[in-house]
């Protein structure tokens, strides 16, 4: 495809036109604002958006929109209609709120189940399950590579038995589960399917959402095992399997909300995320699906930072860019293919270690921004103890309440896309869209997302942002309460934090060893061989993974079987761009 995506939309010329408004603005500037500013100098030399550092004008008027070639019908349109800037649903949140979710994961399957019940009781209806780093990196709990990390950053998962314990849950209350286990995704998907079967849960009554986002792992998260090309193949296997077998489930998410904490700016977020989506789409299309079938399965998690308008406009631009990309690059024709599926979230990185109660204020503002930006089907909130440790129960309660406060008390969800038509919001949205398509062209020109990962392009770009944005804080261009502004001399932690029981690791190690001693080893060996064989011959990995999982082969063993074929991706992934 040699068409530049940034050129596909003929309206998108970016050419300036003059308008009668220019004259009016000039008059106001010289008669009214100018003299005032002369007497009251502005409080800073330049006003810039927080991440993109784009200049912010003192005033936005129709002239700004005209200069951008803004066209209401083309650029904004109506809710539920192309280009979906005003939302993919036709009625905003007037028919129903977004699903309120939170992330959870620590310790053993048992402790997870207890925590999950507590969360459902706080009014949450969806859960995001995070695993520990042993699991997501494809090791069992007794592997020397992960000594000291078992259950620390998420739930430990060694075998189907652990999931059976974790799923001791009221499935009538839990309607939505997102599972974050990217590199070993087929193993994880197989385990969940097997566990649901054992629990007698009808897969049609429940939405399993696997993130399956291996390409972001290479870009900025780090939980990878195999080289990128094999990672992409495994992800595609899972997508294919779900489309064919569980069409009501969600087989893939692109978590832009991981690019952002790695300091991608909004334009990079949109461009990198969509370029990454294209890599999965292209791989899935190669399996014989058509774009109108595939596109509706794609899902994005997008967060907002403290710059209120940058965040809101990013959400709006994301919807629009996806629609345009699907229509113009892939020739999608069905509306469903052009409607982005989205979960939104306040960002974690705005939350400080210092004076953690201030974070509740930040979270409320960002959750409001999410809602004003359209919220998506789901919203998840990090918690005010974010910078200290995994969430404590009290923080979970406050976070759950917070979503309800935004939903029920503020009125921001009572009309659809209330900020549409704001000269500032529409200008920024359109500028982001234009810049994102330009950046996407750059990535497509270098051969797409996989190439951008292999050559370290993404990683280096993020590294630069990390360094620059930290300088903004250290040099005082950005004030951050508690960090470089209104600092306390003597910081005394205002909250109590979560602590993991120290014996957890040895208990988990004993458990997996015990399992290995009592299962049918011959069956395990033969199913592991099936896994290797499937890895080698290129057939879909799901069938062999299901067989292995059901034979109680451990998560780590299955991951090692694939290592035998795919090899390992080294420590030199260029993550961080150092």
């Amino acid at each position: 495809m040699n068409n530049k995506v940034s050129r596909l939309n003929p309206k998108n010329t970016g050419q300036a036109t003059t308008s009668e408004f220019d004259e009016e603005v000039a008059r106001w500037e010289s008669e009214t604002r100018g003299p005032y500013v002369a007497a009251h100098p502005e409080r800073r030399e330049e006003f810039l958006t927080q991440a993109l550092k784009w200049p912010i004008n003192p005033l936005y008027t129709p002239a700004d929109l005209e200069a951008l070639g803004f066209d209401y019908k083309e650029d904004v349109g109506f809710p539920g209609e192309y280009p979906y800037t005003r939302g993919t649903g036709p009625n905003g949140h007037r028919s129903g709120f977004w699903t309120m979710t939170q992330v959870t994961g620590f310790g053993s399957g048992q402790s997870w189940s207890k925590r999950a019940r507590y969360m459902l009781d706080q009014g949450l209806s969806g859960l995001i399950l995070e695993y520990d780093l042993a699991t997501t990196n494809g090791y069992d709990s007794d592997d020397p590579m992960v000594e000291g990390e078992v259950g620390r950053a998420g739930m430990a998962l060694d075998s189907l038995e652990d999931l059976e314990e974790a799923f001791d849950l009221p499935f009538d209350q839990l309607k939505y589960l997102m599972s974050v286990c990217n590199a070993p995704q087929p193993v994880n998907l197989a385990m969940i399917i097997a566990a649901l079967e054992k629990k007698g849960v009808d897969p049609k009554d429940f939405v399993l959402h696997i993130v399956n986002g291996i390409l972001i792992e290479y870009t900025c998260v780090g939980r990878y095992i195999y080289p990128p090309e094999h990672g992409l193949r495994l992800a595609t296997d899972c997508i294919e399997y779900i489309i064919n077998n569980h069409p009501n489930w969600a087989p893939i998410s692109i978590i832009s909300a991981q690019l952002q904490p790695a300091k991608a700016n909004p334009v990079q977020e949109i461009a990198f995320s969509l370029a990454i989506a294209c890599a999965y789409i292209d791989a899935t299309l190669e399996r014989g699906f058509d774009i109108d079938t595939v596109a509706p399965y794609f899902h994005f998690v997008v967060n907002v930072d403290m710059d209120f308008f940058e965040g809101i406009c990013k959400l709006r631009a994301f919807r629009k860019c996806w629609a345009r990309l699907m229509r113009d690059r892939y020739g999608a024709t069905k509306p469903e293919a052009m409607k982005i599926r989205m979960m939104t979230s306040p960002t974690t990185t705005a939350l400080t270690l210092q004076q953690p109660l201030n974070n509740i204020g930040r979270l409320a503002i960002m959750a409001t921004a999410c809602s004003l930006g359209g919220a998506g089907e789901n919203m998840t909130t990090p918690l005010h103890d974010e910078a200290h440790s995994l969430p404590a129960e009290e923080a979970i309660r406050v976070g759950a309440a917070l979503q309800h406060i935004v939903a029920h008390e503020t009125g921001v969800a009572e009309t659809i896309d209330p900020l549409a038509g704001s000269y500032y919001v529409e200008s920024l949205t359109k500028q982001m869209e234009n810049a994102a398509f330009e950046e996407m062209d750059k990535i497509f020109d270098m051969g797409g997302a996989l190439k951008a990962i292999e050559t370290g392009y993404f990683q280096r770009a993020l590294g630069r942002e990390q360094y620059e944005r930290n300088r903004d804080i250290e040099e005082g261009r950005r004030l951050w309460v508690g960090v470089n502004h209104l600092k306390l001399d003597e910081e005394k932690r205002e909250i109590s934090i979560f602590r993991l029981n120290d014996d957890m690791e040895s208990e988990q190690v004993a458990k997996v060893r015990d399992l290995r001693a009592r299962r049918d080893q011959a069956l395990v060996d033969s199913t592991l061989e099936q896994v290797r064989e499937a890895a080698r011959n290129g057939s879909n990995m799901m069938e062999s993974c299901l067989a292995a999982v059901k034979a109680y082969a451990t998560h780590g063993e299955i991951c090692y079987a694939m290592r035998d074929v795919f090899g390992e991706y080294g420590s030199d992934s260029q993550l961080g761009g150092i």
């Binding site: 080294g570 420590s571 030199d572 150092i578």
Partner: protein, 316 residues
Amino acid sequence: MDVAKELLSGTILAGARAIRWLDDGDPRGARTLAEIFPHTGNAHIIGITGPPGAGKSTLVNALISEQRRRGRRVGVIAIDPSSPFTGGAILGDRVRMGKHTLDPDVFIRSIGTRGQAGGLARSTHDACLILDAMGYDLVLVETVGVGQDEIDVVALAHTTVIVGVPGLGDEIQAVKAGLMEAGDLFVINKADRDGYEDTYRQFELMLHLRAESKALSSDDWSPPLLRAVAVKDEGIAEIVDAIDQHKAMLQNTGEFGLRSAQREREQALTLTCTEIMRSIRQSADPAILSAVEKREIDPYSASQLLIKNWQEGRGT
């Protein structure tokens, strides 16, 4: 710890410390070197050079594996540029060699250029001697990413491997001018990338021109052109074969010892020049210099005066 004695018996802590002293210009370094020098001259010094990002470190990583497979103990000196403004550096080459960190028969050392031009650090030669004395069979020296005239490594190494990559475009001209005349072995890495064939043909042509040239060609050795995909360990055994052949040729022709001898001789001269330069700068009469600044006397005449003063100062 008797550093010299310990390093001769292969103690890593001691070798690492000696290199540090030499790198820092600590006098203990020179003393240690004097003690260990009689035990050097055995290691095969192999330079790996090429433009920035060509995959030198990745290639070194693969070469270590292959050399280890052949039972040899491997030392590595990996040089990265120091900032000319702050003197600081981020030395990241070993990131690509991580899998050898725990191999007791591999020693990897990162060194910053610390203001030295030419693609090497001032202490590179010394560090090679230390590794040589520690009993490493070969030392792989990875230069900084270089342009056309940063080829000091040629004078240091017995065997110089030039690494090229597809898609260098105009940079190939730079490679041609300097590096093409210098290499003993040419490797086009990233052969999995688009443009490999073009690059191969360009290199072939240049090697052909080199073979035609009387001044540059030799009867004993015609530099082979090899392909590699360092990230996938492809073509690595062939490179090590060629390196071994080059070494055998050097040994058969007596060139091996000759190159080492020449290197030490040059090093002696370099050290002398550096020392004299330092000494002249230190003793230079500020009055003469300020006279030049005020244009009262020209730089040539000033230089004559400064040398004369320095020599007399020495005499007294």
